[in-house]
């Protein structure tokens, strides 16, 4: 199974480098367009959360492992920031009117709703997060999907 790994600093520019590395992996491994954007959004959310709330300006590294076997695309994210289980994050506000709307907490919801799996484990002093998407037959691109990502 094609696998690629990359380590980036736990900074905003590191998040950008991780996105570029995932793009490169997708190109080489012909990851379907539909899976690409879902992961790009989810990774931006997950990684920027780690930078902002995990490392909080301290030095740190985020290690990513990308895999694609033709049926499942997965990304594992490992960091040594304080323990944080994103599945326990409070639900965001998605209904208030404009004046009262706060955008916080949306990121975790996106990662959960756009992908099929989000699992978390604390191993020693590391957070291990796994994201996965089951490739839909005939899903060549985003345009072929018209409903939400949970089916």
């Amino acid at each position: 199974m094609p696998v690629a790994t990359v380590s980036v600093p736990g900074t905003t520019s590191g998040v950008g480098r991780a996105a570029a590395a995932f793009d490169e992996f997708c190109r080489r491994q012909s990851v379907p367009a539909d899976a690409r954007w879902r992961f790009q959004v989810a990774l931006d959310e997950i990684l920027s959360n780690i930078v902002r709330h995990g490392f909080r300006g301290r030095d740190g590294t985020i290690a990513l492992t990308f895999a694609h076997d033709g049926r499942i695309v997965s990304v594992e994210v490992v960091d040594a920031a304080p323990a944080f289980d994103p599945r326990q994050a409070p639900a965001p506000d998605t209904t208030s009117p404009l004046e009262a709307r706060r955008p916080g907490g949306l990121g975790i919801k996106f990662a959960q709703d756009l992908l099929d799996e989000l699992s978390y484990e604390r191993r020693g002093d590391e957070n291990h997060l796994r994201l996965a998407w089951h490739v839909r037959p005939g899903a060549a691109g985003a345009a072929s999907r018209t409903t939400d990502g949970n089916q």
């Binding site: 959004v41 931006d44 998605t94 985003a142």
Partner: protein, 113 residues
């Protein structure tokens, strides 16, 4: 991120290209803020060249909508591809914005005609 502005019938149409995420959203925010503080009251954001948007980008759009409301201006979004539309939908953002399929319709909506 490349952002181009065009003037169409009194409205400014802002067209960002690529991804609107945590690495590019500040640039878009500064761009839009400058337009609004510079007096623009009819703004259209054209998403036709946007690959995807994450919550960092939604924050920028929310800030734009609030600023334009305070300034009694009009803002409309248009030409969202499926990835962009789906993220707006998941966030419950679609009811907060005027969203049009075409650029022409969005320009008409903000009163640029």
């Amino acid at each position: 991120m490349e952002i181009s502005d065009t003037r169409e019938q009194g409205a400014v149409v802002v067209s960002p290209a690529g991804r609107i995420d945590s690495t590019t959203s500040d640039q878009l925010d500064q761009h839009l803020t400058k337009l609004v503080t510079g007096g623009e009251r009819r703004v259209v954001v054209d998403f036709s060249r946007v690959e995807y948007i994450s919550s960092a980008g939604l924050r920028v759009m929310l800030a734009l909508a609030k600023r334009m409301k305070d300034a009694r201006g009009a803002v409309a979004l248009c030409a969202m591809g499926e990835p962009v539309r789906q993220v707006f939908d998941l966030a419950g953002f679609l009811p907060l914005f005027a969203v049009d399929g075409s650029r022409e319709a969005a320009v008409r909506r903000v009163g640029g005609a």
